[in-house]
């Protein structure tokens, strides 16, 4: 039976009153679909996002840095797990979501299609990319879907450690030798604009935003979040003694915010369309890890089935009582 207009209206009232939606509650199909799309995209971003940083684990310049980076990338795998689990509560399996990633049906954050070229990129990614992600994720701690919101609370705690880790690397470099400082500035130049693009297109060009706001999935617009991020990051760059690559960046007394230059949305859409510097490599790395792991997953499944059969065969009391 099709849900009545009443149900949709009641749902809207329910979320507008800041109530959380739980897996067994009734929800509009479109709400469920939007969430599966968003949460799985978020999970995929964590998993694909491991790759550009894993690129430097074997070359971390100190044992301490190696451990911190490894722990950080491991956290991202954990975030992926929480998020896949929370999307599974909406009725889509992890296998299905992973298939959608591998066939290109599902997206992940485009930022991970840029290469990590120097050690300073570990600083810039942690500081800017995780910083931008936090801006979005703090908002999502209050999202209307309960399992997603609870996953985000845990994730946010770890993400703030990630951001500090990135900023610490930048600080070491900015206070280091001339070469190290140049390395830090170069990384900032390359990561600044893509980080601003992470918030997505401007509100008037973001088709799903209004509905997501009404459902309380999203609480702030892309432009609001982007502005908050810029306002927070400019003084951090100043503290490092590094220059943000934007000649139009200046404090606007009247607005109480920093003004910044126009974003090159052509670049953004080119990367989303699959033409970023590393789209092919990232997807290929995920596909091949999955394909090469097939025999391992099959073995684990076969072994578990054999074990279950053995347990059943050696449990005569259970059989007897069933008979």
């Amino acid at each position: 039976m099709a849900p009545s207009i009443d149900m949709e209206a009641r749902f809207l009232d329910y979320v507008s009153a800041e109530n959380k939606v739980e897996p067994k509650d009734w929800m509009p199909d479109a709400y469920r679909k939007t969430l599966v799309r968003q949460i799985s995209q978020h999970a995929h971003s964590e998993i694909v996002g491991m790759l550009p940083e894993a690129n430097w684990i074997t070359r971390a310049p100190s044992l301490r840095a190696k451990l911190i980076l490894l722990a950080k990338v491991q956290d991202e795998a954990g975030h992926g797990l929480y998020l896949y689990s929370s999307a599974e509560t909406l009725g889509t399996s992890r296998d299905q979501m992973i298939d959608d990633l591998h066939t290109g049906k599902a997206k992940y954050s485009s930022i991970f299609n840029y290469p990590t070229l120097t050690w300073a990129d570990m600083g810039a990614v942690g500081w800017l990319v995780d910083g931008a992600a936090i801006q979005n994720q703090v908002m999502l701690c209050r999202t209307s879907y309960g399992p997603y919101s609870r996953a985000m609370v845990r994730i946010c705690k770890e993400e703030s450690f990630h951001q500090r880790q990135g900023y610490e690397i930048m600080m070491h470099l900015a206070r280091g030798t001339k070469e190290q400082k140049a390395m830090a500035q170069d990384a900032l130049n390359r990561w600044w604009w893509p980080s601003l693009m992470m918030f997505g297109p401007s509100d008037d060009q973001s088709p799903n935003s209004a509905q997501s706001m009404a459902w309380r999935i999203k609480r702030k617009s892309n432009d609001e979040l982007r502005q908050e991020f810029v306002d927070k990051t400019v003084p951090q760059a100043e503290f490092l003694g590094l220059t943000l690559p934007d000649p139009d960046l200046k404090w606007n007394e009247e607005r109480g915010h920093y003004d910044f230059g126009p974003i090159d949305w052509a670049e953004f859409f080119a990367v989303v369309a699959g033409n970023g510097p590393c789209n092919t490599e990232r997807l290929e790395a995920r596909r091949s890890a999955h394909a090469e792991g097939t025999w391992v997953r099959e073995a684990a499944t076969a072994y578990a089935a054999k074990q279950a059969a053995r347990r059943a065969a050696t449990a005569p009391t259970a059989k007897a009582s069933a008979a």
Binding site: Q74, H172, V296
Partner: protein, 254 residues
Amino acid sequence: MKWDTCDASVQYLLHLGDDALILGHRLSEWCGHGPILEEDIALSNLALDLVGLARQYYQLAAQRIGNGMTEDRIAYWRSDREFRNHVLVEQPNGDFGDTMARQFYFDAFHFLQLEALQHSSDIELAAIARKAIKETTYHAQHSSEWVVRLGDGTDESRARITASLAKFWPFTSELFEPSSVDRAAHAAGWGPDVASLRGPWLDLVQEVLEQAELQLPEGHAKLLRGKSGIHSESLGFLLAEMQSLPRAYPDATW
């Protein structure tokens, strides 16, 4: 710095630390590429434990060397001829079965080694071992479970893990052939007579293989001298990658 003439206790710590660092480094190469997300997390855990353990050994060694020696100088500024790890641990990851076979053999040895080191007359070394054996017990459980799972899983997994176990078998003999540093450490009461660990190691390995209905591999011991600094060709590449940044920017601190 003359690494091979420094204090015997330092040389022993370097040997122990090198095993942990090199194997931890190899495991960290899996990060982001595991067969399943849960295993990505588990392999990273092993790597974190082992690199963390290497730091403890190196820090103690650095403290004993003095003169501003640091854990990072020990890790990043020695050449492959100055590393003292077993050749087994530097072997490339291969597929997941290879990684698990390598890990399984080493974990059983590492567990027995740490069990003995807990009672070392070197009390600082004993303290490190007491902490590490808890982690290593878990490592051994993890790799044993995978050997059983792969051995008793599908025909393909059984064939693969059989081949992997056979491939690394010849590398295990080095674990039980004492180097001059092993002998000195045993004589001083710091560490076990590694030859005496062979029997208990075989028991541990055999018990797991029986569960998986796998045969103990046959094959001759390789002539290996990793503990004396004569490694396989793969260690040079591993170190070239690992040490590249500090060596490219010798004046920098990170």
